[in-house]
C-alpha cells in the first residue's frame, strides 16, 4: 500500500523538482530580470519573509471561500431537491439559474463591494456563493433525475412512499453527481474569493496582497502570494475529494 502510494506520488514530485531546477537555471544563465520572471530561490526567500502575512491572508481569503462555498452548496442542494420533487419549482428555477450562470463576477463584484461598504467581508462571500451555486445545483439536479427504470419499478412494486424513494434510491444515487459539482465548485470558490478582492474593500486577503505587491514592483513577493493562492486551491480541492471518499464508498452506476 505504502510503496504503491510512493510510486504514484514520485513521478509528479520528480517532474516538479526538475521544472524548478530548469526555471532557476534559465533565470540565472539567461540573466532574466525579476520583473519578467523571478527565480524560484528569490520567490522562496520572499515566501519565508512574508510568511506571517501570507498566513493571515490565506486565512482571510480561505474563510471567505469556505463560507461562500458551504452557503452556496447548501442552497444549491436544497433547491435541487425541491426542484426534483416539485415540477413548478423546477420551472420557476430553471430560467433563474440560467441567468445566475451568466452573471460575470467581475461585473457584480464592484457593485456588491460598494453596496456593503469597504469594511465588510460579506460581498466576497456572496460572490463565492453565487459562483458555487450553479455547478452544484445543475449537477445535483441531474443526479436526482438519474433513477434507473428498474429501481423505479422496484420501489413502485414495494409501494414505497416518496420519502422512502428519495432516501433509499434517489439521494444515494445522486451523491456522485453532487460531488462532481462540489469538486468544480471548490476550485471556483477559491478563484472567485481572490478575484472579488481585486475590486476594493478590505485589504487583508491574497488577492489584495498580490495586487499591492505587483503595484510596488515587488515581483518575487507577488509570486510568493500566488503560490499561497495555488496552495489554497489545492487544499480546497483535496478537502472535497476527502469528503467524497468518506461519504460514498461505493459510487452509483
Amino acid at each position: 500500500m505504502r510503496s504503491l502510494a510512493l510510486r504514484s506520488a514520485l513521478p509528479p514530485v520528480v517532474l516538479g523538482v526538475l521544472v524548478l531546477v530548469a526555471w532557476q537555471l534559465v533565470v540565472e544563465l539567461g540573466d532574466i530580470q525579476p520583473y519578467l520572471l523571478p527565480a524560484p530561490t528569490a520567490i522562496l526567500t520572499q515566501l519565508v519573509l512574508v510568511l506571517p502575512v501570507l498566513w493571515a491572508a490565506l486565512l482571510a481569503t480561505g474563510s471567505n471561500a469556505l463560507i461562500g462555498l458551504v452557503a452556496g452548496a447548501v442552497l444549491a442542494i436544497g433547491m435541487a431537491l425541491l426542484a426534483s420533487r416539485l415540477g413548478f419549482i423546477d420551472e420557476l428555477l430553471t430560467p433563474i439559474v440560467a441567468a445566475v450562470a451568466v452573471v460575470p463576477i467581475v461585473a457584480l463584484a464592484p457593485v456588491l463591494t460598494t453596496m456593503y461598504g469597504a469594511t465588510s467581508e460579506t460581498p466576497r462571500r456572496v460572490i463565492v456563493a453565487i459562483v458555487v451555486f450553479v455547478p452544484v445545483f445543475i449537477n445535483t439536479l441531474r443526479g436526482l433525475r438519474q433513477v434507473r427504470p428498474v429501481h423505479r419499478d422496484l420501489m413502485r412494486a414495494y409501494a414505497a412512499t416518496n420519502w422512502q424513494v428519495s432516501r433509499t434510491v434517489t439521494i444515494p444515487g445522486a451523491l456522485p453527481y453532487v460531488f462532481t459539482g462540489l469538486n468544480i465548485a471548490s476550485s471556483l470558490a477559491v478563484i472567485s474569493a481572490i478575484v472579488a478582492e481585486y475590486f476594493g474593500g478590505l485589504q487583508n486577503g491574497l488577492g489584495s496582497r498580490i495586487t499591492s505587491a505587483a503595484a510596488n514592483s515587488a515581483y518575487p513577493r507577488a509570486w510568493a502570494y500566488v503560490f499561497g493562492a495555488i496552495l489554497l486551491g489545492v487544499v480546497f480541492y483535496l478537502g472535497t475529494l476527502a469528503i467524497e471518499r468518506a461519504v460514498s464508498r461505493r459510487t452509483a452506476r
Binding site: 428498474v150 422496484l154 413502485r156 412494486a157 451523491l175 464508498r249 461505493r250 452509483a252
Partner: protein, 277 residues
C-alpha cells in the same frame, strides 16, 4: 394458505398511444388464470406483450380495458398489500448497499423489526447459497450471483406469488441451467405461484406446469401447453424424452405464431426472435 386463484386476467387490453399514428396494441383481450402454487411461463417473440402482461399483474402498468385480479383483489390493492415478489432481467440491486442490505430492502421499507429482518436475511442468503457474501457489494459479484441476490430479495416477504421478467436472460447457458434448478428447488420449498417471462423454450418447459405461448401485434395468447413432468425436476430431466416432447410441442405452437420462431425479422429490422436452444 388461500384457495383463491393467484392471478385472474379478464379480457385485458393494453394500448400504448403514440403521439403520431395509431399507437401499439401490446395486449388484446387476454384471458388467463393462474392457480395458487402454479408455475406458469409466458413465452413468445419480442413485442408479444409478455412483459406487458407481467407488468399489468404487478400493477406497474394499468390495462386500457379489462381487469386483473390478484388473490381476489385488484392488482393495485395486491401491490399495496405486498402480495407478490418481483425480479427483473437486470438484477436492479442498489450498488451502494451490501448484499445483505439489498435483500433487507423490502423488509426495511415495510418496517419489519430489525431482529426479525436479520433472521430472515440470513435465511434467504443461505437459501440462494450466498451466506458468505453478506458484506460484499453488488459490483464484486458475478452476474449470476447478483441475480440470486435479486431472487432472494423477491422472496423476502414470503410472497405467495412471484413475478419474474426474464430474470436469467443475461446469463450464460451454464449459469442459467444451474439457476433454473435452484429456482425449481426454491419454489418447491416456498410453494409460491410463479409467473415467469422468458425467451427460451427449454427454460419454460423445465420450470413450468403450463407454458403460455403468445403472438405479437396485437399481443394474444395462441396456445397453452401443459407440461406434465411432475414435481421433482432435477438436472436429469433435461435429457428425458418427456422433456423433449414438451419442448417440441411449445416449439410447434410458436411456429404457428406470425413473427415467431423461424420468422425473426421485425419491421424495424432488428432480428430478435425466440431462443430455440
Amino acid at each position: 394458505m388461500t384457495t383463491l386463484d393467484a392471478v385472474h386476467v379478464n379480457q385485458a387490453t393494453k394500448r400504448f398511444e403514440a403521439k403520431k399514428g395509431d399507437g401499439v396494441t401490446a395486449l388484446d383481450e387476454v384471458n388467463l388464470t393462474i392457480r395458487a402454487g402454479e408455475f406458469v411461463s409466458l413465452i413468445g417473440p419480442s413485442g408479444c406483450g409478455k412483459s406487458t402482461l407481467l407488468r399489468l399483474i404487478a400493477d406497474l402498468d394499468q390495462p386500457t380495458a379489462g381487469s386483473v385480479t390478484v388473490f381476489g383483489k385488484t392488482a393495485r390493492q395486491a401491490r399495496l398489500d405486498q402480495d407478490y415478489g418481483i425480479a427483473f432481467q437486470s438484477a436492479g440491486l442498489l450498488p451502494w448497499r451490501t448484499v445483505a442490505a439489498n435483500i433487507e430492502l423490502p423488509l426495511q421499507l415495510h418496517r419489519v423489526a430489525p431482529a426479525k429482518r436479520a433472521l430472515k436475511v440470513a435465511e434467504l442468503m443461505s437459501l440462494v447459497g450466498l451466506a458468505d457474501f453478506a458484506e460484499s457489494f453488488p459490483d464484486q459479484l458475478s452476474g449470476g450471483m447478483q441475480q440470486r441476490v435479486a431472487i432472494a430479495r423477491s422472496l423476502a416477504e414470503s410472497p405467495e406469488l412471484l413475478l419474474m421478467d426474464e430474470p436469467f436472460g443475461a446469463l450464460d447457458e451454464m449459469t442459467r441451467e444451474r439457476m433454473q434448478t435452484e429456482l425449481v428447488r426454491i419454489c418447491a420449498e416456498t410453494g409460491a405461484a410463479v409467473v415467469f417471462v422468458t425467451h427460451s423454450i427449454p427454460e419454460a418447459v423445465f420450470l413450468s406446469d403450463r407454458v403460455v405461448v403468445m403472438s405479437p401485434r396485437p399481443g394474444r395468447i395462441v396456445a397453452i401447453v401443459d407440461v406434465a413432468l411432475g414435481e421433482a425436476r432435477g438436472e436429469m430431466l433435461r435429457e428425458e424424452e418427456g422433456f423433449f416432447d414438451s419442448v417440441t410441442e411449445v416449439r410447434e405452437a410458436l411456429h404457428r405464431v406470425p413473427g415467431g420462431a423461424g420468422e425473426t425479422v421485425r419491421p424495424d429490422g432488428a432480428a430478435r426472435g425466440v431462443d430455440l436452444r
